[in-house]
Symmetry: C2
Amino acid sequence: MSDTRKPGLSRRGLFGATAGGAALLGGLGGSRLALLAGAAGVTAATAADAAATGAEVPPGQLDDYYGFWSSGQTGELRIFGVPSMREMMRVPVFNRCSATGWGLTNESLKILTQDQTPENKAFLAKRGLKAFQNGDLHHPHMSFTDGTYDGRYLFMNDKANTRVARIRCDIMKPDKIIDIPNAHDIHGLRPQKYPRTGYVFCNGEHEAPLVNDGKILDDPKQYVTIFTAVDGDTMKVAWQVIVDGNLDNVDADYQGKYAISSCYNSEMGMNIPEMTASETDWAVVFNIKRIEEGVKAGDYKEMNGVPVLDGRHGSKYTRYIPVPNSPHGVNTAPDGKYVVVNGKLSPTCTVLDLSKIDEMFEKDLDPRYAVVAEPELGLGPLHTAFDGKGNAFTTLFLDSQVVKWDIDKAIRAFAGEKVDPIIAKIDVEYQPGHNHTSMGETKEADGKWLISLNKFSKDRFINVGPLKPENDQLIAISDGKFEIVHDGPTFAEPHDCIMVRRDIVNPLSVYKRDDPMWEDARKMAEADGVKLEDGADQPIRDGNKVRVYMWSSAPTFSLEKFTVKEGDEVTVTITNVDDVDDLTHGFTISNYGVAMEIGPQATASVTFTADRPGVHWFYCQWFCHALHMEMRGRMFVEPKAI
Amino acid sequence: MSDTRKPGLSRRGLFGATAGGAALLGGLGGSRLALLAGAAGVTAATAADAAATGAEVPPGQLDDYYGFWSSGQTGELRIFGVPSMREMMRVPVFNRCSATGWGLTNESLKILTQDQTPENKAFLAKRGLKAFQNGDLHHPHMSFTDGTYDGRYLFMNDKANTRVARIRCDIMKPDKIIDIPNAHDIHGLRPQKYPRTGYVFCNGEHEAPLVNDGKILDDPKQYVTIFTAVDGDTMKVAWQVIVDGNLDNVDADYQGKYAISSCYNSEMGMNIPEMTASETDWAVVFNIKRIEEGVKAGDYKEMNGVPVLDGRHGSKYTRYIPVPNSPHGVNTAPDGKYVVVNGKLSPTCTVLDLSKIDEMFEKDLDPRYAVVAEPELGLGPLHTAFDGKGNAFTTLFLDSQVVKWDIDKAIRAFAGEKVDPIIAKIDVEYQPGHNHTSMGETKEADGKWLISLNKFSKDRFINVGPLKPENDQLIAISDGKFEIVHDGPTFAEPHDCIMVRRDIVNPLSVYKRDDPMWEDARKMAEADGVKLEDGADQPIRDGNKVRVYMWSSAPTFSLEKFTVKEGDEVTVTITNVDDVDDLTHGFTISNYGVAMEIGPQATASVTFTADRPGVHWFYCQWFCHALHMEMRGRMFVEPKAI
């Protein structure tokens, strides 16, 4: 099946780099039919029998893949089962979670605050806050060993407040959340694939003065963009590189040599006409070895404790490969040979041959020397996924389609051969952004499932009001299939996802008592002569600080009541001594804004001021037992005035 | 099929009201097989072909029912599609939402704060907060007219911080969140069914001193429990009634005469042995007409602006009907004749004949005069749902089963006839709490679908770590079926749900410009001489208060940049002038903790202090356009020191 675009249709005609041209795109929100009027699209059938494609997971059966979904501005990670597309778990990361107490408990606040910049700490303190309460989590990726997922960690960005987080896959909770200094608004993020992670590469998307203290304001010439490598083991920033252009997405190679970022707005424009003025922007290639040598040689400026190298045009650390206007996604093929840079405002994808990059750094070559293909695929190509069998799948945002194409044929066509790389197109509903194939960003890509994360759902679901869900569509791609088998509504905004084979992920079901998460609580208890799992019969008073130690075992807390004084700073520490799978307890103090999760064998604590006198019930809010409602007790707050 | 319990097995033997007896229940977390060892259970087949039962909703097809799910301690409402069991939308209510800015925007803060008690306002202010950031949302129920859903509102409780919320079904956002004074920890909630809602009945679960200022602490004899009727139109508390015993769940009749609450812990015990000591507790019946007359006659004490009547034993306003130990769910059958009170610690359900309640209030009758059946159903009956065809479905928490039984046969058996009311039992996975049938709490119960909301999922899904999802199972019940067709993992904790026919719910897709939600923003703009949809070219300064008005239209904000001074109190008000379905914009200010949703034709605003000098990008975080990433601008904060 051939490309549906009319040959000769001018890209500039559709995407003229003027405000007027941009305004033409305003119709995107409209129906696809209106958008595509005149495009003689021939598409693959979308009707599908889910059962026939093996997408159904009957009651009691397990999914084959873990799906790790971002949530965009919701700030959490989501765990899906694939192919059932059921959301299995939410993992609060950058957001404040009412259920688990993430952002309230001492254990979560430690993770949220211990790697904050002093500037952020001060900024938040002025608001009476310890941590930001929002995040914009776009790109969740697993740690690699030898080119494939190793089940250790998940890494993810926060564009809203310039942070990077790590989740431990043994317990599926974050253990590190770090502020990235110097950079602004981390967007694209990918881990080093080889030999292992290693580095986590993070794109600072937005440009700003290098020292952003207000002395430079409306002077874009003095703005810079920062690329960051985080050490995935220590979660410290290893080094940063100043680059030209806004960094968008990033991927790594399979040799541990390079990271490649897409850069839009090479113009350093401050509005859409300026940002889209140039016909070309670029992909920037980072030479990891040279950068490490530069750091060793002291070829950097230290800023906020981080070595910052200059990687702007002319630097030995980078190469800028011109690609058509405003590239977006960057995706390394599982064979390790090619990187696909997706055109966004160009109907093309640019294929880079990674084997040519060494030479580009060593010799003074044509900057497009590594470009080996540039197929025209359709309108608005944003991201590409792979089946490990030589095929690529690219989302076409404007066409609301996914195009399947043959990488080898695209290369041959670029070399002049009369061959059409496009295999098929499929309609998706509507306007796809990221896509992903099962294991598709590893050398073990298995070509079974493709997800298209669509930004609009419009009429695909029962109407739930002005705010509609996104629509994550599951597409069967094994054995030559190319069929949508599931429409999946999701809350804002599953920006990106990965699909990991089940055998790679092996979490615990019950916490280990010596987990580092409650190390501080353990030390505090030891200092008080208390064993966490035994609790204490009475609150321990230390001036106006009061420490309450309890255990929980369905359906009781170890204390039926405890007494504090108005104005006391109270720390309640609870250890769930139940060691049964799925037996999570909760601890809520009514009308005190206190609620937290305590997993089996876990310890959790919360500190608050007892500034409301009276009788206040605490209760277990995680259903645990037939006598769950009876699992409660009283906190007495003696008033000052009596 | 008969009850699986061994005849003659003593309830006291299983549920001895001693600490030791309670401890026996600790094994609930274990596998059902272990629990049920020795119980010769014969169950209906659970294997099911989902496709054959019509539970599949293929891509592009719409669900037949709206499912409104609570989220327990997560604090939000969830909208599901049934039978696909896909989560369509999250509606933040009591929680702080990173994506929508609920709890941050001026519009949401108005709803969250305008009906706070002065005591709560002061308590929160001490913490630097305007609203609580957590909630425990158990029971979502729709407004009724003439015994069935009318599609106007959804009402729901917050047990954690004693609140009640209302959601407008036209836009699916809360418009009222009120603190309930005098009461503690609102649990059960149901709307008046007839003639309309009318009242929303709210159970204060926990007992406390009537004036809880700390003068009375460890003196349970002076504790009381409060039943509240909220006016569902004005969202003001109409009246409250003091009762004996802890209020658990509640339901209303189909005549507008009575509300019936279950009361556990009639003992007013303060720990499990005390709470479960008595063989019987009670259902308390509230006589609405008498209470209204009492209010008119001034037979109340006014407390915090609310008339509080005394409905304790001996009152004319209430009747206390003894039922076996620790009743839990209360469910009125769709025929309007019967109410089922579920036994929890008794293996029985108690059926009350509503037609006998009038007499009970008028004459001095046996307090169990209205009891017409008390079938033994199995272990741990918690909630009952109905198919509108005379059958009832009761969750058995301990047995991990749902039992289908015949109400009429139960009544005949109670009268002495040798007839077994139990029709069938089905295993559910695991430990079910609430259940619900399609339209089952209305006179239009249609007997198509049953949901069992199970508290544990254990091994039913891929392992996602120590915190496991709940498991909402969909059961086909039409045409005599009784089959599980879908296992649905859900994040903490879908405590309760309702399923509403699709034709009843008709939300808008685009906001009306004159929506009251942004009335304050409109007034502020008018005072500034600005039209919201036109924005203002420059910030409007008023001392150190600065107001910025922008419109958004994909892919631009009307301002490319604006300037404020360090320390200014800045209010940014954005009006989304796009009027296309699903074209929501967002507004995030990087590194400022600011992010909010602006639906099509909506206005949203946020107020913050500009205490971080420098260049700060604002951007649209709700994917809107091919040039979405270019939809951004700069806030310049001029430093004080320059």
